[in-house]
Subunit: 206 residues, 2 copies
Amino acid sequence: MKKNGLNIEQMVQTVDAIKNTPSLGEFEFRASNQWINGGENRSTIQGFYGAGSEDESRSEPFTFTNGEPPILLGNNEGANPVEFLLHALAGCVTTTTVLHATARGIQINKISTELVGNIDVNGLLALDDTVPVGYESITIKMDIEADCSDEELDELLSFAKDHSPVCNTVCRPVPVTLERVRQLKAVAPFSNKIPSLPKWSLTTDW
Amino acid sequence: MKKNGLNIEQMVQTVDAIKNTPSLGEFEFRASNQWINGGENRSTIQGFYGAGSEDESRSEPFTFTNGEPPILLGNNEGANPVEFLLHALAGCVTTTTVLHATARGIQINKISTELVGNIDVNGLLALDDTVPVGYESITIKMDIEADCSDEELDELLSFAKDHSPVCNTVCRPVPVTLERVRQLKAVAPFSNKIPSLPKWSLTTDW
């Protein structure tokens, strides 16, 4: 049986399994990115770890291209990274709302959102160190129709905002580490019994 | 003249214009998103405001689909929102590195990044309120080759991390507001001179 497009039995089984074995809730998501030129670069996303094993459900990777508009020195090769962040935030708040509505037995008829985020590029350009470098603020306007009261809907949306992973990654501080990796320059081995060098050997922590 | 794919003259002109009129650095980015079903929803991204005017450079919108893998109750309709966030972060750190390398006269030969982020979905599912709801941490491993010393490269990457808008949106708290908007139910007008109702009339602040 499905509600809001979610399989109720599978949802209950998943939640019960994580309740019984909380470590099944640990997920590791990944992306690989290659610089192309200027403000253009491309990510590949496929595998992840979760629910106790490596996911094998995707036979093909997803690829996404970041670009920049001409005013930001690009050629609109793709949406730019700060716009992709809005897409991620919109999707996460929506899916979290649908998930918890389903858990409460609420039927959703419609959700649409409009997101607006403000950035002052004086921060990016290092022209003014009093300006925030990231978004100053982001506003989500949501139009939602569901088979419940206004009060239930208000409570649902407040709960969804508090339990959306992307929203919480944005509105709370999350540590980001940038490590530089280098290939060791091969030196003439004294013996061919030296084990092969790892691909990534040196890292620099900030 | 171009370096790293960026037009140097245009870059200098842009930076000079913002130096002279700092308000030109204020940008507003936007996304519209529609729920489709379950964990599937789609964003449309096209216009933005920046450098003192509404951008008109994109004749067609970009569209991106969020989905979920089967283990998270979806059908891999697209990458999921927390994966799109990694794509945004990878792209922003890369582009910020290229921008500031170019400003320093450094030629970049290669940048590739591998991102890993950890999330415990006990937070999303509200099963354990001691678990962070967002990413616990994100690590970026960057392989970069450029025509400068190791010390200059280390300093460049530290500077780029500090000046990347997406990285700073993640690693510092950014306020997110979720407002519910509703269409006013039309009532029979007493006069046809009543101005048309605004599309979004009531908002609920959290």
